[in-house]
Amino acid sequence: MSELDRRRFLKVMLGAGGALIVGLPLRALHAATPPLPLALLGDNWTRLSAFVSIEPNGRTLIGARAPDTGQGVRTSLPRIIADELDADWARVEVLAMPLGVEDDNGKPRWLYGPQHAGGSRNIAEAWQDLRSIGAAARWLLRQAAAQRWNLPAERLGTHAGWVIAPDGRRLDYGELAAAAAQLQLPDAGVAPKPASDYKLIGQPAGDVDARAMVEGRQAFAFDQTWGDGYVAVIARCPYAEGELAHLDDSAARAVAGVEKIIPISVREASGLIGDVPLAPGIAVLARDTWAALKGRTQLALRWRARHGGDASTAALTQQAELLLKGAPTTPVRNDGDFTKAFKAAAHRVEAEYHVPFVAHATMEPMSCMALITSDRAHLIAPTQSPRRALGIVQRLTGLDAGSILIEMPRIGGGYGRRLDDDYIAEAVLLAQAAGKPIKLLWMREDDMTHDVYRPFGVHRLAAGTDRKGRVEAWQHHLASTSRLWHRGVPASQLWTSEMQSDALPAGLVPNFQLGWYALDFPLWRGAWRAPSHDSNTFAIESFLDEIAHATHQDPLKLRLALLGAARQWQVQGVTFDSGRLAAALQRAATEIGWGTRVPAGHGRGLACAFSAGGYCAHAMEVSVQGGKVHFHRAVAVVDVGRVVNPLGVDAQIMGGTLDALSTALKLEITVKDGQVQQQNFPEYPIARMRELPRAVEVIAIASGATPVGAEDLGVPSAAPALANAIFAATGKRLRRMPFAAQLARMG
């Protein structure tokens, strides 16, 4: 059952001027109930929260509950509601909903169901609950029309904001709104429409904010302003575990426009606020951004490491190599007898793959607006995890959940970075200390050096096949820096963020062994797009290619043989259908012309992945000249179930693919003397237009299955497809990301 229980909570309200409002009533009145955008409030705003409001003129307001980081949910979630409603999309206006929460005896009670951005989960969750909101509103409008016409409701149709009678008479939703608002929903609830009646779902829709974006009107968090507030920038400790050794702020205080210098110390010994890391820092608060930046350059500061002042990624590689010679920290899975089967194998293949730390480097650096008074807190926070942010605000202010308003504007990229809300903690601490509203900005250098990085890992794989090339033994050993390090997770569970015990090819190989080795390293880690799938899929799908070549098999046929006959089982808590993955792979191969003649110097590569309930296969055709990869074709075939917005799925898969290619080719975070070496884009060169495929051919397989999100689905299989294509073109196997250094040596 979804969090948002439709039968119990759906409520109908009459809004100002006769609007129909369908939403979720709060159970208790509370003075600081988060205000919704005014247009959604009607005259019941102290008691009402709402998803749908239909005004007498037919304008339809739909609330978007999840923060949009570029994954398109401000378009796709409202369209799910609008389709059930049979709304006229041209008359729909989408409004952002703040975090819906009220105080329930000291605990937060969530009002709007799931509100977050992460794990590509929004679409699947919306399918569970948001459809009922549109269906209920449509039911009410049809009932109102039935009463008006004295006809049975079942005989009335709806289309694009109209109720239509069998004789062709029609009434606009706006004309029916006031009457519909007087009706009660049936206790049994209202069933969503059959798929055959979908009108918006499955049809392409552009981003609802496109016009505001191209006109520069779309407000991101840092675009907003609070009249008498301060702009804050912070000089942070460069060590993961360090402290202030010396501060002289006299020159900074002398800078015109600088108002306050405030130290941020980590009160909790763990270096965490809740389970979110927070760096010690010195904040410069000023009247404008430029004064704050100038002030920061005038701080005379020295930091010292408490631990790990000599840490380096070069030494970390050695630590991994040494560890991998011994027994795993955690034996994750053991089917059959790997050792025996490997010894007995006709062919044995072994390989080692290296995955570096990488940064999130969202285009919009971290920022937060915070206004804190003794009895309330108001934040405009570009967070993927507003509930976690609420917990941090509560922890720092002692306010109850109902007194905290968290607005979530459009966000300039998340990719998992904003699941950690350290920047929100900073803004709250500064707003409290300064007694004024704060606009906190991270500079790019802050963002690059104080990220929560994708974990570093060294993967060692070994496989044995029988004489026919069937994979009989498989061992995957991974030494990595768990992203759960220092997050209050027991040592025995640190592996859980790094490997999935049931991830493919688990269950497909009889003698199968997974083992994880704990690397110790002082650098904060976090979730990075399709966490662990991206790194592990690179190793696994590259290795499958190596097995195929070593045993003179076609890499496509080897994968299809391994997947075997179509059947279903549970993987990572959801149903996996091997037939759907095989179909995606086969289709990608067909599209790229797999098995047909390849132009001289070109090579083709394949890879596939199952992630967050979705299926993806990549096929690439590349050549390498002058140390650079030339992309001739990039194909991505996905199966995300029913496609809610084809234009959105295309954008997400295109974007995920290009991001993964850019990351695999060029990106790496290194540490020397305990400090991150990369400061800005020249040292962390995210690929530009000329370096990436001119087009990504995205194909979404038609399906009626429950939809899942596509946000990160294009990421995991792109890098191994590229590595496999480079091998096919050059005979050189790239086992170490990023590929750029090795490509340069290939000349």
Binding site: G70, V214, D223, D288, W290, M363, P365, R444, M654, M689
Partner: protein, 178 residues
């Protein structure tokens, strides 16, 4: 409520001397900057004019998110001090619309191609594309490869399509030859 007292115009008006500072135009309107002449244009646009379409992303003139036009040429606003702008004409993303307020050809092409993912870099991309079309009204794929601006989301293929669409629209060709 008491009525406001009647307003009496002054008998003499002494013209104020021209105020000291940097006089410039932004999107066709005159402005004066009387603050720190070292202040980069980016922060002046954002903090004082509330023209927040122009974004900060690197601060070192590398990524292009802060691109604006100065006298028609693209520059990085993050590295352009106000003191270099006396008498210059600045155009930001907010100034790309047509005179009647409707989107310009590039902006409309962006909307039609749904070129936006997170959207944060797109103001700079539009300015860079605008400058490219000035140099190459009918850009080739190789011309498009020269676009320098960074997009973290991977919207590049749609940006390419949007620019080609805008070029066709400006040349008066049908939007979709198919």
């Amino acid at each position: 409520m008491a009525p406001l007292p009647p307003q009496v115009p002054p008998a003499h008006i002494t013209p104020q001397p021209r105020r000291e500072g940097i006089h410039l135009q932004v999107n066709g309107k005159p402005y004066l900057h009387a603050g720190d002449p070292d202040m980069p244009l980016l922060w002046w646009l954002r903090d004082y004019l509330q023209l927040t379409g122009t974004k900060y992303a690197c601060g070192i003139g590398d990524c292009g998110a802060c691109s604006v036009l100065v006298d028609g040429e693209p520059v990085h606003a993050c590295l352009t001090p106000m003191q270099t702008l006396a008498g210059r004409k600045v155009t930001t993303v907010e100034g790309l619309a047509l005179a009647d307020g409707s989107p310009g050809a590039l902006q409309q092409a962006w909307i039609n191609e749904d070129a936006i993912l997170c959207g944060y870099c797109q103001a700079g991309q539009l300015i860079a594309a605008h400058a490219l079309l000035q140099r190459h009204p009918r850009p080739s794929e190789a011309d498009l490869d020269t676009l320098p601006n960074l997009c973290r989301c991977g919207s590049y293929p749609r940006i390419r399509k949007a620019i080609l669409r805008a070029a066709r629209a400006r040349a008066g060709k049908p939007e979709n030859p198919a």
